[in-house]
Amino acid sequence: MSSTFETIANIIAETCDIPRDSITPESHAINDLGIDSLDFLDIAFAIDKAFGIKLPLEQWTQEVNDGKATTEQYFVLKNLSARIDELVAAKGA
C-alpha cells in the first residue's frame, strides 16, 4: 500500500500534468508546483475520493486569510499528507 504522500503526488502529477519526479514532500503545491485554486479543486476531489474524506479547504483558506495559519501548514505536501492522515484517523475513530 502506497504512502499518503505517494498517493497525493501521483494525483497531482496526473491531474496537473506535472512530472512525478519533480514532486517531493517539501514541494509547496502553490508556490513550487504552480497549482492554482481551480486545479486544486480537482486535486481535492481526487484526494476526497481516494481517502474517503472531505478536505476542509474552506476552513484552511479562512485560517490562512485570518493569519491563524500559513499556507505551508496545509500546502507543503508532507504537511498536507499529515493533515490527510489526521482526517483519515478521525474518520475511523
Binding site: 481551480l38 479543486l41 480537482d42 481535492a44 476531489f45 476526497d48 475520493k49 472531505k54 478536505l55 476542509p56 479547504l57 474552506e58 476552513q59 483558506t61
Partner: protein
C-alpha cells in the same frame, strides 16, 4: 425558457435530495434573436447554452441541498459532449446528479435528453460560495419559486 435573460430552466419536475438528483424541463423558444446568428437559415440552440442549461439545473440542485445558504458558480466543464442538434421549439429534459459535495465546491454529472434521446452530457465543477449580497439571494429565492423549486425536505436527505 427566457433565453435572452439566461433563464434557461422552465420548471423543476423532480427533486430527490436523498439520491442527490434533480430533473428539470425547458422549451427552447420558437424564435429568438440568437437564432438569427446561430445560424442564419439554420437555427440551432447553441451548445454553450445547452451546457449552461445543465449548469443551471445543477446549480438548483446544489442550492436545494444547502437550503439557499450558499450560491454555486460554474467553475469547470469537463467531458462535455454535444451529441446532436437541438432546434427551436424542442423540449429539453435535464437531469443532474451530485457526484461529490466538497468543501466549497461540488461535482455534478448532468445530461440533457429530447424525447428520451441523449443530446448532451458533461461533468461540471461548481464553486459554492456565500451569496455575494442579499439582493442576489432574494432574486434566487424568487426565481426558485417561479420554477417550482421547493426545499422543505431535509438538506442532507
Amino acid at each position: 425558457m427566457r433565453i435572452e435573460y439566461f433563464q434557461l430552466i422552465d420548471r423543476i419536475v423532480d427533486l430527490n435530495l436523498a439520491d442527490r438528483k434533480i430533473s428539470s424541463e425547458a422549451t427552447v423558444p420558437a424564435a429568438s434573436t440568437i437564432f438569427e446568428g446561430h445560424f442564419p437559415g439554420y437555427p440551432l440552440m447553441p451548445g454553450v447554452l445547452l451546457i449552461e442549461a445543465m449548469a443551471q439545473t445543477s446549480g438548483w440542485l446544489v442550492v436545494a441541498m444547502n437550503r439557499f445558504q450558499r450560491m454555486p458558480f460554474l467553475a469547470a466543464v469537463k467531458e462535455a459532449k454535444l451529441r446532436t442538434f437541438v432546434k427551436p421549439g424542442e423540449l429539453l429534459s435535464i437531469d443532474a446528479r451530485l457526484e461529490h459535495d466538497g468543501s466549497g465546491y461540488a461535482i455534478v454529472e448532468a445530461k440533457i435528453r429530447v424525447e428520451r434521446k441523449l443530446i448532451c452530457d458533461a461533468a461540471l465543477t461548481l464553486r459554492v460560495l456565500d451569496f455575494p449580497n442579499a439582493e442576489m439571494e432574494r432574486e434566487m429565492r424568487d426565481r426558485a419559486a417561479t420554477i417550482g423549486l421547493t426545499v422543505e425536505a431535509p438538506a442532507d436527505g
